[in-house]
């Protein structure tokens, strides 16, 4: 699954550490999501979406090749 987390975080000028604190996960988790090594759970995806004030599907995108 692709995502726009790094771009959105950069827009807010947050570090991975700051985003991790705001979402209640580790910095490693944020890094793994940004590098697309790990897909977040639905609750975490919703939390992230609410934090950025955007719908989940605008941040996390299903890769067409994965379908």
């Amino acid at each position: 699954m692709k995502n726009r987390l790094r771009v959105l975080r950069a827009e807010q000028e947050w570090t991975q550490e700051e985003l991790a604190q705001r979402t209640g996960v580790s910095r490693q988790a944020i890094n793994a999501i940004e590098t697309e090594k790990y897909d977040p759970s639905l609750p975490l995806a919703i939390k992230v979406a609410r934090l950025f004030g955007k719908p989940v599907e605008e941040i996390f995108l299903i890769d067409e090749a994965e379908k």
């Binding site: 991790a20 490693q28 793994a32 759970s41």
Partner: protein, 135 residues
Amino acid sequence: MEGVLEMADKRKDRFGMVVFGLCVLTVGMAVLHMVLREQYLPGHPVRLTMTGLLFVAFASFIFVYTRMLSRMDEYQRQIQLFALAIGFPLSLVLIWGIGYFRAEGLLQGGDPRDLPAVLLASYAVGFGVAWLRYK
């Protein structure tokens, strides 16, 4: 408050490595126990001390591991799941292998007391693979 949050977050980042370190330490103590028990007679203070320390190490590993699991975030739990998914079957294969080889007259000199160390070593291998996969 910021400092406390930062410290908590750094601790959260290190959960996996602490568990892994404790696992390596426990396996190391098990190996040391194997070496020392060949050199001292049963009941010798060195053997008794080492046995006690080994028990404490195993108990600490279980205590720390279960406590940390409950505090880990979903990503860290995913790594642990991956580690166990490799470590558990690997330990079964190793234990079966040891049993079969012993039945064929190979690998003599082992002891059932050492099997928990095989489990922990398998977990350490699983964690290593998981860490490489998700780092």
